[in-house]
């Protein structure tokens, strides 16, 4: 049975939505035995100074990330498409967060 025991908990990524923020922001990572414990730990590590009103945790090995090798193909083609920005419209002052 002892060989079934994992001596290191898996890694989780933590996302916190601040009170005045609009979306969850990645704040760091932590180790926990499962998702429930990860939420507890995230609350204890990342919201103890009144930072948040909502927490997401995701297993780090469930995150698919783009590769640095693909940087050119992924990100350079958008570099000259200025017409994709809504700069030809006048935006009223009362519309925030564009």
């Amino acid at each position: 049975m002892s060989e079934d025991i994992k001596h290191e908990w898996p890694l989780f990524e933590v996302f916190v939505r601040a009170k005045r923020g609009l979306n969850h922001v990645h704040v760091g990572s932590l180790r926990a035995a499962d998702h429930e414990m990860a939420l507890h730990h995230a609350r204890d590590l990342y919201t103890r100074r009144n930072e948040g009103v909502s927490i997401w945790v995701v297993r780090s090995d469930d995150v698919a990330a783009s590769s640095p090798d693909e940087k050119e193909a992924f990100f350079s083609p958008s570099g000259d498409k200025v017409y994709r920005h809504p700069t030809y419209y006048s935006i009223p002052d009362s519309v925030p967060h564009i």
Binding site: M1, R31, M37, H40, H41, D44, N50
Partner: protein, 327 residues
């Protein structure tokens, strides 16, 4: 000493761009009427605040002793957070006690300059934890009892106690949840963790009855609608304790204290591992169900185990060696 200065720096920063996170702190006693209700004896109210304040202060200190000794970094911070919540409750309650007794003492004088016999905490909070399982068993007992108590305190005729109760309910709800999750995780874990969690649950039981025995001061303040009669909390405690232990696949009725021979890894303090009888907890508390009436010689009367003397030697050493010292 005052909370005002500390909170002033952190409140009302809505227009302050310096802080991306962590603004909007609130003073839990803002706007609360602090006059003593009519017909309430000031000495008795002060004594009651000391009881609840000392419970929080000593439990907080025992939790602080786990910092640098917890099994995981994340749990170390969790325990420190819980200790800080309880220290905050202790500060509010000792401040209220000092204000009501009006004898020239403040929260610091009450915390640092009283001897063990003047402390009014229950003995449960003094006990050293032999290992992490003992800690979470004791924390589950403490938080379950205190949550039930604070919940009823929110309707106290003393507005300050009612506000402290309302603040504490939110904190202790989390403490109970944290402890319960660990009891279930260890109880329903491996054969080894199950046995050690069972031993821990058994060994905390002799300290439970004292929590529900009303002190004469409490009963007089119950009559004035200020205090909570702890004997009325037992059924809620038994239900929660039974529910958690069942989920943890543990027995609820414990063996005799000190009977198990479990290892004591992670011993945080020198007296850990000493059988319960040798720490001064009366053996009469096992066996026949205790009387429900007031008990002479409880922690509420200043009768403590040697463990409290050790705690105070540590907790009070700086304040006593540097009288009047400030940061």
């Amino acid at each position: 000493m005052s909370f005002d200065a500390a909170y002033e720096a952190l409140t009302d920063h809505d227009d302050d761009a310096r802080w991306a996170y962590g603004t909007g702190f609130a003073d839990p006693l803002a706007g609360v009427d602090d006059t003593v209700p009519d017909g309430v004896d000031r000495g008795e109210l002060a004594a009651y605040c000391l009881m609840l304040g000392d419970d929080a202060l000593i439990m907080s200190h025992r939790l602080q002793q786990w910092v640098t000794r917890a099994p995981e970094l994340e749990d170390e911070l969790a325990l420190a957070n819980i200790a800080l919540d309880l220290l905050g409750q202790a500060r509010l309650l000792l401040t209220r006690a000092a204000e009501v007794e009006d004898a020239g003492r403040d929260e610091d004088a009450l915390a640092y300059l009283r001897d063990a016999a003047d402390f009014r905490n229950v003995r449960l909070v003094e006990r050293a934890d032999a290992d992490f399982a003992h800690l979470v068993a004791r924390l589950l007992v403490f938080a379950t009892w205190r949550l039930a108590l604070l919940d009823r305190l929110t309707t106290s005729a003393d507005p300050v106690l009612a506000a402290i109760g309302a603040k504490g309910v939110k904190e202790v709800t989390y403490h109970r949840d944290y402890a319960a999750q660990w009891v279930v995780r260890l109880g329903d874990g491996t054969e080894l963790s199950h046995d050690r969690m069972q031993a821990a649950a058994d060994e905390v039981m002799p300290l439970v009855d004292e929590l529900f025995r009303p002190h004469p001061t409490e009963l007089r303040l119950v009559a004035a609608a200020v205090a909570v009669d702890p004997s009325t909390l037992r059924s809620e405690f038994d239900a929660v304790w039974g529910q958690v232990l069942t989920a943890a696949t543990l027995r609820t009725v414990g063996a005799a204290p000190g009977a198990s021979g479990h290892p004591t890894a992670g011993v945080p303090v020198e007296e850990a591992g000493v059988p319960v009888e040798e720490t001064g907890v009366p053996v009469e508390e096992t066996g026949v169900p205790a009387a429900t009436g007031p008990l002479a010689g409880s922690g509420r009367d200043g009768a403590h185990t040697a463990a409290l003397t050790d705690i105070l030697a540590e907790l009070q050493s700086v304040a006593r060696s540097m009288p009047g010292g400030v940061w």
